[in-house]
Symmetry: C2
Subunit: 248 residues, 2 copies
């Protein structure tokens, strides 16, 4: 059996952020498996057979990919950004755990990619230049009270926040509840950022404040960054300093 | 004035993780500024003048780089991993804030890079496949009580943890205190990972448990990952599932 499976992070949209390692794996693969927009926008040099599927079928996609690898194919399962950060990697291991015992013996590796928070933060300066939390607002697979507890804990620790999956077309209430919770904990003038479609032609970042975040602007391709109490502006940039002013 | 400054994340050591964007910037730069090991290990194709300095002089290095850019040079300030995650980006903006007013008008951009936690997590599976916190244990620029409060908050939220700068040759107590705090909050059999020199020829990852982390193994080139209560093993991998078992 000479098949393998690689879970490949493509970075956020643009080929300028695709690592040489990820490109090499895509070029060696016989099959590329993933969510439609990722599979359809691969570099032109990728000639592998393409298996595109819709959103919300991660576990089925993972099982199908493991089955292909077990049959001797060289399979690249692709995610936008990094596959290990709210991408396909966890789904692959979940499918491995629930599936055929021999899947655990397959040649499987995760190939890291530039996750969206790094690209979004870089556009702005260094808003995540100090301790921060990364959290998904999606309650599709975890109960809302867990998310609420984590938002509270992140506030207690005065962490900056990078919020993935803040909303979708149908999932709008979570964002409103999250903003209400954070506004009770942090000053309304805390710096906030709405980063959209980073790495795509129509990317945008807008710097605002926690008090003025317009939920209507936020969709499933948005990353939301909320500063800590120390996050500040200098010129057109924002950054979270490495130091504390009250350091003796 | 045609000078510019780019704060460039090199990724964790290996050229396979250097993005095409970062490589292009390094090739266009007239000057590369950074900590000795990063400046000395650039790809052979980089012919820029090299300005290497030691550890702990980030602010002076940042000011020197801004001065070069103001004088018309094309300056790449390099960091390992991502410059925005405990790298040089915050120091650049701090120097900009404290320095010459005209530095704020310079052509400055941050070029994102693969931060160490992504590469380390990928080696292991997907230990950060769900909500997590990123925290530095260094109390060189922030008071220890802030760090302690954040470790406590991260525990309260049952976040997985990626711990940067866990220790250095002389700074050993912080790690012992952090482990003692976390061991009061989480089960001793919580999965923990000691990742060393990721992306270098002598890289290593060792999977252990919170109760058995050997502090003597941890140095300044180590990234420590502590799982959440949901982080688990499957075969030779570890991952944090996307779902909660108690989800109805």
């Amino acid at each position: 059996m000479s098949g393998w499976l690689r879970v490949v992070g493509l970075g956020p949209g643009s080929e300028k952020w695709l690592t040489p390692e990820a490109l090499a794996v895509l070029q060696e693969a016989t099959d590329v498996v993933g969510y439609v927009p990722y599979v359809e926008n691969l570099p032109a040099s990728i000639t592998a057979e393409k298996h595109a599927s819709g959103n919300g079928v991660e576990l089925e996609r993972a099982a199908a990919a493991l089955r292909l690898a077990a049959a001797g194919r060289r399979v690249a399962v692709v995610s936008g950004g990094d596959a290990g950060i709210f991408g396909m990697a966890s789904a692959i291991f979940e499918a491995m755990e629930k599936g055929e015992p021999q899947w655990r013996e397959l040649d499987v590796e995760v190939i890291p990619g530039l996750t969206a928070l790094l690209a979004a933060a870089a556009k702005l300066g260094a808003p995540l230049g100090h301790d921060f939390c990364v959290i998904s607002l999606s309650d599709y697979l975890k109960p809302w009270p867990v998310i609420e507890k984590r938002l509270q804990a992140a506030s207690d620790g005065d962490f900056a926040l990078a919020i993935y999956n803040p909303a979708s077309k149908t999932r709008r209430d979570q964002l409103l509840q999250a903003l209400a919770l954070l506004r009770k904990q942090r000053s309304d003038d805390t710096i906030a950022v709405i980063a959209k479609d980073i790495g795509r032609a129509d990317e945008s970042v807008s710097i605002t404040s926690l008090g003025e975040v317009d939920a209507a602007q936020v969709d499933m391709r948005t990353l939301l960054i909320i500063g800590s109490s120390h996050t500040r502006r200098v010129g057109r940039f924002i950054y979270t300093p490495r130091y504390y002013e009250d350091r003796p």
